[in-house]
């Protein structure tokens, strides 16, 4: 076997253990009975440690060296090698003990958070969260030192390779400069909200979800949908899973959670099969992944063309005819494009969502730089909510700083990817219209083959051949900035001013 083949073999083994990690995490969130938590956390920590040890195995050094010349003919092999070297460099810096400790601490904290959040109990979760964040910072400092980067940059880089504060700051500044006033105007000119009455049983909503997923191109031979506490997606290209949750008095939130996760899932299902099991065959960072979910949810599925096609499908699945004249394309559009200043990030519309992210970004930077401690989070939350949204949370931790799983699970530096993903989605959509000007006629006709092919060949099928930033430039013709997003919200919401 050539060094290249041996290396591929080693990474296939690593992939096979990551496979286990991934589906056990799915099981934990979707299937596992409460009592299984402790044993599952132990198993996941062990798998994480084994992967870590396999990645940093010193015997790989020579193989990588040899493989480099063998890879010269193939850009895919070269990219694969580049990612392997990146993974090895990062992993080698972190001691195995820290990997295990962080995995266990964040499993324990996340499991407790689920209950304590219900009870609005910030005080009890604080020591657990402090431990997780301390370990996360320890990890960040080690990474920063090894990569010669600022600590928070090293964390950002983990979720989206190449992402830095220097890149994020001006973009977020421009959003903060534009959005608050824009949102004010949109809200002032909105009609009062309207709800539709219908059959919102889980069975009917699931039936609708499956129909829409199928329409967008989700392959049920290679995936499934379930319910969980929070919607998420996971899995490999051969077995891609999404989840949602159902409200008993409305369908919009759940339906768009499904469309969002379907966007993620289509990315996974479209990865290059011939590179399955190798790093270069994986999806890119979280910014790019989020761009794919938001491309479907926000750009395609909240647009008029999609609604025109799906209105009769929704009407039939959820028995909405009884609403009479109140149920029409205008009222449906208004319901799925409603803007509002809310407390909850995951419930936010696309114009206020970035403000939620900016808030978290500011707090993460302050904690990482040592400017504030974990126990200052509630005060900082209120201060930033007042600044960006005009109201405070006070003792409502549940819907304030305890609302998101991320920090409790040790994910620091992840939030910016959500909003950068939204910006990327807008820029991709603009490029799609440039490439296929009449694509929205397809959507109105319920045909999603051309858009899926466009995504498959331009994005999904590219794996990690180039970085997210290079891919964006390649597909859209310019580097990522916020202009396409601002154009998009102005054209979608500005007309109502």
């Amino acid at each position: 076997m050539s060094a290249l083949e041996q290396l591929r073999d080693r990474w296939r083994t690593i992939h096979n253990v990551n496979h286990a990690y991934q589906y056990l995490s799915w099981d934990e969130a979707v299937m596992m009975p409460h009592g299984g938590g402790r044993g599952r956390a132990d198993s996941l920590a062990t798998l994480k440690r084994l992967v870590h040890e396999m990645v940093i195995d010193p015997s790989l050094e020579a193989l990588v060296e040899q493989a480099r010349s063998e890879a010269e003919g193939s850009e895919w092999d070269q990219a694969n090698l580049r990612i392997i070297e990146r993974e090895r460099k990062r992993a080698s810096a972190i001691p195995s003990d820290l990997v295990m400790a962080l995995s266990k601490a964040s499993s324990a904290c996340e499991q407790e958070w689920r209950n304590l959040r219900q009870q609005n109990d910030w005080k009890s979760v604080l020591p657990l969260l402090t431990e997780v964040i301390n370990l996360t910072l320890q990890r960040g400092e080690i990474l920063g030192e090894c990569l010669d980067m600022d600590v928070y940059d090293a964390m950002l880089d983990e979720y989206e390779p190449g992402l830095t504060q220097e890149f994020v700051n001006p973009i977020f500044d421009s959003l903060v400069g534009f959005l608050p006033d824009f949102v004010d105007n949109v809200i002032a000119s909105q009609d009062p909200p309207r709800k539709f009455s219908g059959d919102y049983s889980p069975e009917s909503q699931l039936d609708l979800a499956r129909k829409l997923m199928k329409t967008l191109g989700f392959n049920f031979e290679r995936g499934r949908i379930d319910t969980s506490h929070h919607p998420f997606s996971c899995g490999e290209f051969m077995d891609t899973r999404i989840t949602t949750r159902f409200s008993s008095d409305d369908f919009v939130e759940s339906m768009y959670a499904v469309l969002h996760e379907t966007g993620h899932a289509l990315y996974q299902q479209g990865l290059p099969p011939e590179w399955h099991g190798q790093p270069v065959g994986n999806s890119l960072g979280m910014m790019l992944h989020e761009s794919q979910s938001l491309f479907m949810e926000m750009q395609v599925c909240r647009g008029d063309a999609f609604l025109r096609h799906s209105m009769p499908v929704i009407e039939e699945s959820l028995s909405l005819k009884g609403n009479g004249a109140a149920w029409n394309l205008d009222s449906l559009s208004a319901a799925v494009r409603r803007v509002g200043r809310g407390k909850i990030r995951v419930d936010a519309d696309e114009t206020t969502y970035p403000l939620h992210v900016v808030l978290r970004y500011r707090i993460e930077r302050a904690i990482t730089s040592g400017d504030m401690g974990v126990d200052d989070i509630p005060a900082a939350w209120d201060e930033n909510m007042r600044d960006l949204f005009g109201f405070e949370l006070g003792d409502d931790f549940k819907d304030g700083c305890m609302q998101d799983v991320h920090w409790f699970a040790g994910l620091f530096g992840y939030f910016p990817c959500y909003s950068l993903g939204a910006l990327t989605a807008a820029q991709f959509y603009k490029a799609l219209i440039r490439d296929i000007p009449d694509i929205e006629d397809d959507f109105a006709a319920g045909s999603f083959d051309r858009v899926l092919n466009w995504l498959r060949s331009n994005i999904h099928g590219q794996g990690q051949l180039v970085s997210s930033f290079d891919l964006i430039e390649k597909v859209t013709g310019s580097p990522l900035d916020g202009s396409a997003f601002i154009d998009h919200v102005q054209s979608r919401y500005g007309s109502s001013n």
Copy 2:
């Protein structure tokens, strides 16, 4: 850390990887979409290889040596060490490549079998099965040589340590000498079968299943029930899972599958928590495990006392009142204790079940000894069916030699455990009546605390402290033989002669 603690630590890691293997297998059977098969097989094979490598790690040799003297004070530690040495001896004999090859071949064969069985396609499955059996025999030969045992004994010993053909032969001979005529007589004196009409929707049957599981003591905080192609149970004491399947025109089969799997699950949920993650904290071999499922299913739950309690529960869950006078304790008893000569092992009643096992035992021995080849299986099947049941299958492979997953999954030497488990269950039940003579009054009153406590302290909580054979003798006062089983079937079915 003492050597003993280090060794426990190593086995905790092994346990954590086995945990992953176990729940991924559950996922494969219950949740995984069809397309995920290949990736799952690869991941499972990798986990199996990693465990194998960790078990045979030469650095453990010295630790085991040192730990032996440290363990002297504790019989649990001594037993733990004994099992570790046994595992190491067996695993060290088998090359890692063979472990991987067998895991992959049996995953592939099992996945194909699912489809080919539906199509009654013996010819297409034969090459896959031949490969699996060849690799299984290769494994058996290596084990036999290493343990200085006959090949088939080495295979039996794998599923129930200490089990030999010398032990099995006279017991099976006595069953073959007794059962066929006995079955003839029972069948001749039976009333024609009667079915009840009711609400057999999956929801209602699941509702009944949960109620009965709860009554028997299944802890839903630490377990769950789902549906799958074939009923099975799996999982650790903190997260024990069972499955069943539902027929749309009868409830008896599914209900007793649930009660059977609940017996397995109660064993798992009752294992000693303080030894969780160590070999001595695991359940004993498959014979003993099967004794626990059959204890519940056959001894407790097909008896009159249990039926008296559960009849109104069944009636309510499945809306059986509409059957009028036809629905009564006698007709219910007759339905759950019906004897018949069928083709399918898993559908067999307790009097004909052992004959199905004897048939498989004969074929396994013949193949292992080289007296017949894999392609002779259909002919051997018919010959033995004629001898033991009085009819043949001919080209009906689906309900003949393709009916069980075992051979296609590489399980050779497993079948005898089913019938020995039935014998053990009868012997345990006799000991229960000796210890708590009025226990059936509890059952009739729907109270299962005393029987569960008896099982917990005598069997479940003992882990692998002593062997199955020693445990049986300790609990019942005599070595395992077939007499309690024969007494049991005579007293339960003989009265109708």
